[in-house]
């Protein structure tokens, strides 16, 4: 019983921590997308697609995040109309109308590298839940430490020829 309780407390603490970070991501990532100065060139339609990417069979998690994003931003950030849509890894790499990619948590390393490589080659910014994913070539992530810190992968930034508003680089922490 005590073990079960500790497990439940640990689950809820972990869950609470995940939810806090996720909420920050839901709130901030579309705005970081809006900082992409070439955003309008990356879609044909009137609506920009914010892709929430998952692997394995975790579509429901991706769907949940996409829905939360749409709900929070009400399909608009700044002057940009967008919609958050969940995509599997395989689906995403076939698409040509994606403006921004958010990789949900606990994706495997292989998937992360694949999507990072795709993002770099297509100049599609890729952000992930975990800062550690930047080692796989993901462009950026947001960590909640003593304060909210945006991490950007300096190598991927150079390779992917991304163009963000200059101010982003002032507050972001560029890491190798």
């Amino acid at each position: 019983m005590r073990v079960l309780f500790l497990l439940m407390v640990g689950f809820f603490v972990a869950l609470a921590d995940d939810t806090f970070i996720l909420n920050a991501h839901i709130r901030m990532l579309p705005k970081i997308m809006a900082l992409d100065t070439r955003l309008t060139l990356k879609t044909d339609s009137s609506k920009v697609i914010f892709a929430v990417v998952y692997d394995s069979n975790r579509k429901s998690d991706a769907q949940f995040i996409a829905d939360e994003i749409n709900k929070f931003h009400n399909g608009k950030v700044s002057n940009i109309h967008f919609t958050a849509v969940p995509f599997s890894l395989n689906e995403i790499i076939e698409r040509k109308d994606i403006a921004f990619v958010y990789v949900i948590q606990r994706c495997n390393s292989k998937s992360l590298k694949k999507i990072a490589a795709w993002g770099i080659s297509n100049s599609i910014p890729t952000f992930s839940y975990d800062v550690a994913d930047l080692d796989s070539g993901i462009l950026g992530s947001i960590a909640i430490e003593r304060s909210t810190i945006i991490y950007i992968n300096k190598k991927s930034l150079k390779e992917g020829k991304f163009h963000f508003d200059e101010t982003l680089y002032q507050i972001a922490r560029l890491i190798e």
Binding site: R27, N79, T148, D165, E166, T167, I171
Partner: protein
Amino acid sequence: MNRFINARLSTKLFMTLVLVTLIIFITITLATFSIVRDLTLTSQKEKASLLIDTVSPAVSLSLFLGINDLGNKLSAITQRNEVIALKISDLKGNIYLNYRQHDFTSSYQAINITADLMEPSTLKPIGSITLTYSGEEFTKTMDRFYTLYGWITISIFSILWLMMLWINRLLLPITLIAHKVRNFKPGKKITFDIPYAQREFTQIIHSFETMQESVIQYSDEIEAINKNLEMKITEQTHRATQHLYYDNLTSLPNRIKLQEDLLEKAINTVAILNIDDFKEINDFFGIDAGDWLLTQIAHWLSEMKLKPYRIGGDEFAFRLKEGNSHIEFQHDIEMLLSLLSEKLFMIAEETVHVRATVGIAVESDKPLIHADVALNKARSAKLPYSIYDQSEGIEQQYQANIAMSAQIRQALVEHRIVCQYQPIVSCAAGKIEKFETLVRIQNEDGSLIAPYDFLPIAQKTKLYHHITQEVVYQACHLFAARDEQFSINLSSSDMLDVRTVTTIENILRQTGTANRVIFEILESEGIENFDEVASFITRMKELGAKFAIDDFGTGYSNFENILKLNVDILKIDGTLIKSINENPRNRIVVEAIVDFAHRIGIDTVAEFVASEEILQNITDLGITYAQGFHTGKPLFLNPKLM
């Protein structure tokens, strides 16, 4: 303003300098203050803005991204001492950062800069950032500015003060020159020993010295001229005094001098000496000879120690000597006259005997007048001298004459000279054939003044001709409307006066009475001025007038002259007629006159016919006309006066 106008030149210069400096200094100070303050403030604001600009993008992005923790991002500026406060808020008023320096206690002025925070992609405002920047640097800068200008002010005023001293020193020579020039007098030479004189003052001094030399030169000249003028004035004054008080011809003191001497000293006994018949001497020997004689007489009188004055043409005067009595004075005069009668004077190598008449006024209040009266009395009485006697009333007579003269003048102006006409009756026919015009003055009360009361005075005062002209006018105009002949008395002076003669001629022509008028002239006057009278008679006779000799038989008539005068009537003097009955001698004279008249074919008129007996007598003697109270009294024929 007047004080400034009247102020000294150095004061004016200094005040102008101060004023100009103050205006320039204040203008520059205000402008510099404005510029420095604005620049410093702008600089501080720009610094604050720069700080905001530095953090603004990051803050904007953080705000955009919803990153609430801004403290680390802004630590770069919040650590600066100049930043007093920093406030970041969104549009809804939510405050994301409200930083305030804990140890900020300075009283320096703070500078608040607020800037909008913009959304990075759309640049829409999403909040604001307000930075409160310390004004310490601004205040310190301004303090440095004030200090600097304080020193500049002190320096400028010190310089001005020094300049004032310098100006005073520069212009000091003017004061010294003015002081010296103020005390300048033409006779006194001034030297200009001025220290530190500038070139301009040296020039002024030189000019003053040149001017001074000219002034001294002119002054000397003027002084010389002045002395010359003074001499001339003294000379002229002496000459004028001589002219005024001394007779030019004889150099004796004149009448004015005598009058002044009489006023100065209370000696009022005076004698006036008049040379007898001096006119004849003048006429005979000429004026120059007359003057020469007067000079000799004056010289002789001076030798007689009588201190003579020459008070008129041929009149000399003497005053009683101080200490002498009147008796002695009278004796001196008698001696003088006696010696003068024996004295022979020389004129053109001819000896001349001079006689004189003297009038003396003794202790008189009007010595000259009274001496003159006495002189006239002596001359009239043919005496060598006469002493004025107030009891004789001669002065009163003179006053009466003066009053009568005024009365005659007034009567002439007021047309109160009137004529009465006495009938002249024909002895044969017994009727009035002529009238004699007799002049009267009618007083304002209607009474008449007889001619013997005013005509002698009129003759002396030159009013006689006016009376004659008035009588001729009245008589001619009256008889112009009548048929009788009428006679008018004329004096020889009337006949000699051109204006009177012309007036008579004009009146006769205007009235047409020339052939009925008879002018009566005195026997004596006709003889004395024979040529002039004869000329007048000829002129009037050409007009038709007749002439009668008045008062014939009493003078020293020269029958030849009577014949030459060509008179028409002889009026036998009344004194012969009125006693013709009693005095056979008179009758003989009258018979001779009548006989003479008959012989030369002229009429006769007997005057003063006062009775029937006289009338009968003269009728028997063959006299043509009778005139007298018996035959008719003088009466007015003018209807207005009747």
